[in-house]
Point group: C2
Chain length 692, copies 2
């Protein structure tokens, strides 16, 4: 048994390590934290930190850091906004941005911020709606009831309500958020500093990135008030300090069945990784050709590379026989206990087998589903806009509860904002991506496939892409507005080639979606729920639910790790950043940092590693100390954390954050962001410690 | 149990299907063929077809089709030669080539042809040399004895000798080939016709490619004599006809252990596929930029795409749980029988476990090995030339048996030819590839890796690649000749940046190679051999050995298959090719075909599917009828054949060939290749049927 396997095997019979767990705020294990760290978060402490936490609807975390709506997050979480606000003459991604006055703060076209105000258990309501149902009927009834509950709750455009799934459907909660749609950019460093070390350093540590940015939420024509905010700590975090992370981990599969994990390893991840690898190769060569291409594409490229590395890490975790061995053992143990419990046994009859069968069906269906419905055949913004306009015009005539989920009333404010944003669309990139997607469609489904014939006719993919991108007027927000307001009549009458194209592919796309939802998704969900309930029945609710981009809190400490015998220290410094500078991208410090060398003492901490249990979606999460004060800003995890999708390994899994001291020091001495620094200091001075 | 699983499960307990098997000529199952098809190949028949078969050393098959050294193979097997003979002004890949006289036949710089003259069993000699050894000692002794046997046998530059491994080391044979190094291009169609349907149609059927080419081997200043050749059939093959394929399947893993298959599925194939996907995306975008880039790169791109599709097919076969289930069952059955046989049991003690451990070590080592030693960090021709010059200068001073295998005396003629070929090297492509590889090196091993530091220093990968490619003079064959003849002194004194670079990385590359060979390769080989011998002990030699790019023969029939309920007919026609023409690449017929429309009756067969058991390396194999006459030319397999790497599934596995009738008809009526057609007809008329 190798070391890895031994560590994992031992781990099975132990209770969850103190630092493991993405806990919902209503079930935080304060006792366990007290036992491990001698500190108990009170209800007041929990409420304060929860209300200071912010979700960025696009898939990130953030926090209020002043009473005047100032929001801290990662640079990479608002990179798209920065690109949207840029132009060939004003490349904000390259040179950064600083609003000297609140009037200079610039609205991000696509960013929405949410603050979690209320959580209500609606498990009974959902269970009542799906009682006795399975397959498609189960799925439809569940979606309908979710949409109904959300729509009852969302009483104004400022309220966002989501029914969230916890414990794989063992529980359902209704989350009510305060919604901010006017979010403005206050400060962003240069891309080269935010992503210092680039793709090579991504998911690595030691690390020297300054992946921070500040936004502000506005209401009417003034900054919004945010009385619940997280004040800056007077003193930074040191090695061994207890720290909490409050944020929105996007998704984990720690409770997945072995069949589901094998499906990820053998089918889903390889398929996705191959697509990402190819598009990465394409985009890297694409941006080489001109500075303008580099400007419009580097953000997307970075996103692709980040996704690729993250998914490779997941695949590698699953390719390690030790992890699957542990999961097999856990599943066998669960099934043994379930078998010993007559009620649980009856309730899960055939559940594992049905999951395996649905996955076998999915394996055959996956390329078709991903191509036609998930849009891999038609990547790019223009098609997405066209599809949304076409589908919305169809869906709006249906009762709310019968619509495709993304077109229910609760989703419309976000959707309208997406459709009407002013950001420019890079036609050259659109054309390259669409040509790429159409080519992939043909090679994936085959040149003799009827849908491929329908889409391409006798056209070459690149030619069709050129014709669609050059022909469409959807890049013009006025055109989109007219189509949006004109409703179905306008869409049906439109001769815009992208609209015509989106209409043409829609029937087939909807058909495969329906097949997927009825024969795969519904079966996995229904049986996952059965197993989850059996799990709750035999183990109780002492565990934490898998992540679902809902707000979670966890405790950990500032701590390095042992990397194959080499000790990795938990803190890096400003001096280290200057030592890593080679002058060549991606190890090239921006001029601002080169000019400021010496102004910040070289021993000042810049980044840190902590044992907090995080995952993608936690980007932008505040790191707070026992006083609930900000001591850092999560922006990454180490390579080992990628396997955290499936299991938390306390020895090596580390979160990576910008250190609070370094964050403030650079803001002041490198960027001269006096207005922001003053606001943070004032907020810090005013706040009294919430811990009693 | 789904249909696939059922088919496979049934299959386990049956003897190998009649059409399964890549048989060596000395153990061809004539009785089984007689039983299935009522025809028994005689020894004379076997000798004739064997001597008519040709191996192209680069990795393809071929055949003699006239007594004057005329050789038939696939266009894709000599694509590199066609590129080498091209120039910006004369793009032979685009427009094809036809030598009107033998004086116009043009020498391929890198092509070597081999004709198998003799096979000798040297198992006892190899076993004696490795008796009692394991690990590195086993590997070293085996390599040494192989090199010694080869070198004793290779008495002149016209003789090539390889010790070949059969039954995973259960047997070793010494193969003696007649070697032809002067191979000239006679005829090649346009790339667009050879690869009609391009990547979308690759590994698909129905198919309409004309993937044929003719070469001629020369000796001195005249065409070589080839008294053993395969005459053209007077009558083409029809559905249901018995056909044989004689060729060189490159490699199968049908006897691999389950651990080895899982390693392929989880580690090796994903790693390789991701690299290929990315380079594909890069190259597709790269060739978009200019016609000259397209000209110099399309052949490599096609190779990458072909490899990618082939390996994806393999991965998909392994991702199907049914295949692994069958393999697990077979392995369990073998182990049960071995356990019941005290001698076999003792001989295999710990063998499966040692293989699993070696694979675990390999999993950790693979990226490093592939990057440093297998050259993924430095792709392109210039580095390969530099490495060969550097290593040869080091190895030449060692006794033959102690050298790295690729620098033993037996390999030197081929190596010299590679080093001194006149073909131009595309600098722009070299630079793009090298930059790509160096970037991959850094991201794979990490920016903090000492080797990465040593290689890159403070340089960006693209900058270093540019400096090396622009600075080296190795593109000049005179420079290479001087370094080759100057030996170690010249190499040590060279300041050529690519030579300096190749010297710099060599110690680390050799070190990881040694670790790989000692702790992975040797263990896999040694234990594979132990298992193979036990397999022979309990099952006997009634089976066929896994493919190892050695000459094999198999029987099959012209036959379509059932594709999910849709019947696929075994023959396509000229009419079908014209119907598939869209005018857009890759479905654009060349002008020659458009002009010739009507000259060949539309019902004339163009391509065909057969049940023959083939795999990569069989490309270019002749398809012969029971008279040993040519009725087709293998150039591909269908998608299902890709899983043939691990198992032959008779229901769906199909070889794909150009039909003999169509081949000749296009040669005559589309290309006006009168000289070749006459030669083929004359040879066909002269030959008497070898079957008695």
């Amino acid at each position: 048994m190798d070391r890895g396997l031994l560590a994992l095997a031992l781990f099975i019979s132990l209770p969850a390590a103190a630092d493991e767990g993405m806990w919902t705020y209503d079930a935080f294990p304060s006792e366990a934290v007290k036992k491990a760290y001698g500190f108990t978060p009170t209800q007041e402490w929990l409420d304060k930190v929860r209300l200071g936490s912010v979700r960025l609807a696009g898939g990130c975390s953030a926090s209020f850091v002043s009473p005047d709506g100032l929001v801290m997050t990662n640079h990479h979480c608002i990179r798209e906004c920065i690109v949207d606000l840029s132009s060939p003459k004003e490349d904000l991604l390259a040179r950064g941005f600083l609003a000297k006055t609140s009037a200079e703060e610039r609205r991000c076209p696509k960013v929405e911020a949410n603050q979690l105000e209320k959580m209500t258990d609606v498990t009974a309501r959902m269970n009542a709606a799906t009682k006795g149902l399975s397959g498609a009927a189960f799925n439809t009834a569940l979606k309908k009831e979710m949409a109904a509950a959300e729509s009852e709750c969302a009483t104004s455009a400022d309220v966002r309500c989501d029914v969230v799934t916890l414990f794989n459907g063992g529980k359902y909660h209704l989350y009510q958020y305060r919604r901010f749609q006017d979010v403005r950019l206050v400060f962003a460093p240069e891309f080269s500093m935010a992503a210092f070390g680039g793709d090579p350093d991504n998911f690595n540590f030691p690390r020297f990135g300054y992946d921070a940015a500040f936004l502000r939420v506005w209401q009417g024509d003034a900054p919004a008030k945010s009385p619940h905010y997280l004040p800056w700590a007077k003193q930074g975090a040191k090695e061994g300090d207890l720290v909490f992370v409050s944020g929105h981990p996007g998704g984990t599969e720690r409770k997945a069945t072995v069949a589901e994990l094998e499906f990820q390893r053998d089918v889903n991840l390889p398929y996705t990784l191959l697509g990402l690898s190819e598009v990465r190769g394409m985009l890297r060569e694409f941006v080489n050709a001109s500075p303008e291409r580099y400007r419009t594409t580097r953000s997307r490229l970075r996103g692709v590379e980040n996704g690729l590395k993250a998914l490779r890490g997941r695949h590698q975790a699953l390719a390690d026989p030790a992890l699957l061995a542990r999961k097999r053992q856990e599943e066998a143990e669960l099934r043994k206990r379930v078998d010993a419990n007559p009620q649980a046994k009856a309730a899960t009859q055939g559940a594992w087998e049905e999951i395996a069968q649905a996955l076998d069906a999915y394996r055959r269906m996956l390329p078709e589903y991903r191509m036609k419905e998930q849009g891999e055949a038609y990547p790019g913004e223009l098609f997405t806009l066209a599809r949304d306009l076409v589908r919305l015009s169809d869906e709006q005539s249906k009762p709310n509860a019968e619509r495709l989920r993304e077109y229910t009333e609760a989703q419309l404010p976000t959707l309208r904002q997406q459709l009407l944003r002013e950001a420019p669309i890079a036609a050259e990139l659109e054309q390259a991506l669409l040509g790429f997607g159409l080519n992939r469609l043909r090679e994936t489904l085959g040149a003799d496939d009827p849908f491929v014939h329908q889409v391409l006719g006798r056209e070459a993919p690149a030619d069709l892409a050129r014709a669609l991108v050059k022909g469409t007027k959807l890049g013009d927000v006025k055109v989109r507005k007219a189509l949006l307001e004109g409703g179905k009549a306008a869409i049906d009458a439109s001769k815009d080639p992208m609209i015509v194209f989106a209409r043409k592919v829609d029937a087939e796309a909807r058909a495969v979606r329906k097949r997927y939802e009825d024969t795969v998704e519904a079966v996995l969900k229904r049986n996952g729920e059965r197993i989850a309930k059996a799990h709750l029945a035999v183990y109780g609710t002492s565990g934490y639910p898998d992540a679902t981009f809902t707000l979670r809190l966890n405790a950990g400490q500032v701590k390095g790790w042992d990397e194959n015998g080499r000790a990795v220290a938990p803190l890096t410094t400003f001096g280290g950043a200057y030592a890593r500078h080679t002058g060549k991208d991606p190890f090239k410090l921006p001029d601002s940092w080169l000019k400021a060398q010496g102004r910040v003492p070289p021993e000042t901490p810049l980044d840190m590693a902590t044992t907090n249990d995080i995952i993608g979606g936690n980007s932008g999460s505040p790191v707070v100390d026992r006083d609930g004060r900000v001591v850092g800003l999560i922006f990454d995890g180490n390579l080992h954390s990628l396997g955290g999708r499936y299991a938390y390994v306390p020895e090596t899994n580390r979160a990576v954050a910008v250190h609070g001291d370094g964050l403030l020091a650079a803001l002041e001495h490198v960027y001269g962001a006096t207005r922001v620094v003053k606001e943070l200091r004032a907020a810090s001075d005013v706040a009294s410690s919430p811990a009693k």
